[in-house]
Amino acid sequence: MINPISYWRLKDRYFNLLGTKCTKCGAEWFPPARVCRKCGCQDLVDHEMPHTGRLLAHTVLKEPSEEFRSSAPYVVGLIELDNGQRLLAQVVDVDPTGLQDDTRVRLTIRKLAEDTKRGTIFYGYKFTPLP
């Protein structure tokens, strides 16, 4: 189950797709790197990632973890953002059978999961095909 405290700590990162940027060589990282993987610099600052990218690969997931059961089946995509950084995200507003890799996608903020016992709704980043 998503922990509401870690979610609170990370929500700005999730909603703005905040990674990090190296102050020395300018390399950008998502998920946020603490030490630059290019130059070893330890001075990195928060940096918003581009909101668009392309789909490298995808799968339609039918057996989700407990808390995502009500959403299944859904598409999980490996997405390469326009700065070259990659992430996993659900790809929504698509017919999975017709979804092609290399499709251009953009960020959208959607409901991810709900803790029905506590009544907490978790929002996060998903991606949708660009028109």
Binding site: M1, I2, S6, L10, Y14, P31, L56, A57, H58, T59, V60, L61, K62, E63, P64, S65, E66, E67, F68, R69, S71, Y74, V76, L78, R86, L87, L88, A89, Q90, D101, L112, A113, G124, Y125, K126
Partner: protein
Amino acid sequence: MSRAYVASVGMTQVGEHWRKSLLDLMVEASLQAMNACPSIVPDRVIVGNMFSGAGSNQEQLGAYLASQLNLVGVPAYKVEGACGSGGAAVHNGYLSVKADESEAVLVCGVEKMKDLDVGRATAALAMADSAEYTQFVGATFISLNALTHAMYVKKHGVAKEEMAGFPVLGHRNAASARHSMFKRPITVEDVIRSPIISDPIRLMDSSPICDGAAALLIVNERKAKELGDVMVEVAASEVAANLFTIYERPDPLDYVATRAAAGRALAKAGVKIGQVDFIEVHDAFSVTAALALESMGVSGPGQAPKDVTKGRFNLDGELPINTFGGLKGRGHPVGATGVYQVAEAYLQVSGKAERNQVKGAKVGMTHNMGGVDTTTSVHILRREG
């Protein structure tokens, strides 16, 4: 610095052990190994396990097991590396003997998965990957492997009938193995017609959710000689870590940790991959077997599924793999798997593999991964004489 030897092994049958607890399984496997060498009292207890906390509300497995075995006062602790926990635990036992800090180490790998329903087991397995960026978006462990499977098929144009060679081999070898979960051979048709879980991965591409425990006694040279049995040396034990998630890696299909661990292990044991008589490879999914074998240099890029289909990896083939069924056929009680593999390699090189014996096996290699090649261990066992 002493050499390290496997003195004895114990394994519960892998399966759905509704009537046995985490502790029951650990004790059963450990006593099998200890009763085979009654003169040896372990001076250290190491447990390999992934999710006893999430699965059984139980931690401190080292003390939990040692206490039941009346081994009070010895060093006892758990080693964790997701599905690679077992291999990492064996590595820790090996190090203790090599460093002359222990003479006889009991290493036990255990996992109790069936106490969780499928949704909770899926969530527990996903803990191998990033909570903040993988689990959070709803990706599961299977979906990570499905993405690499899809990329692999796209890159190399592999037919699904060829990928199905891995589970077919696993079930065939498991059918004649005493401790395996599945006793029924399957066909390529069975695999490619099984339900899709996360496309292109089907049910029959996937190792099962199951329970089991395996144990080893790892001893120094003096103790091994005293026993007077066949001498099986742990000729190499290596662990390597990769960039944590597949989406952080420049090439998600490159099993960097497998390549590093296998390369170092072969170099330290002083053997070439062609001199290895069999390999126990981490076939959590068909694609993980293919990518691991290719990263070790056993098969060329995109060739492993063709090699398995042609019979190269059969029990009587050029390089047998997963001689007791591997993760797919024997079963994959995740934190126990790495210990099962080393126990199986011991049975092979000591000539005790019964109906699954690889003829003349002297050098065996095991390969165990936590995550998608994230925490990977490779062991090489060699019979002396």
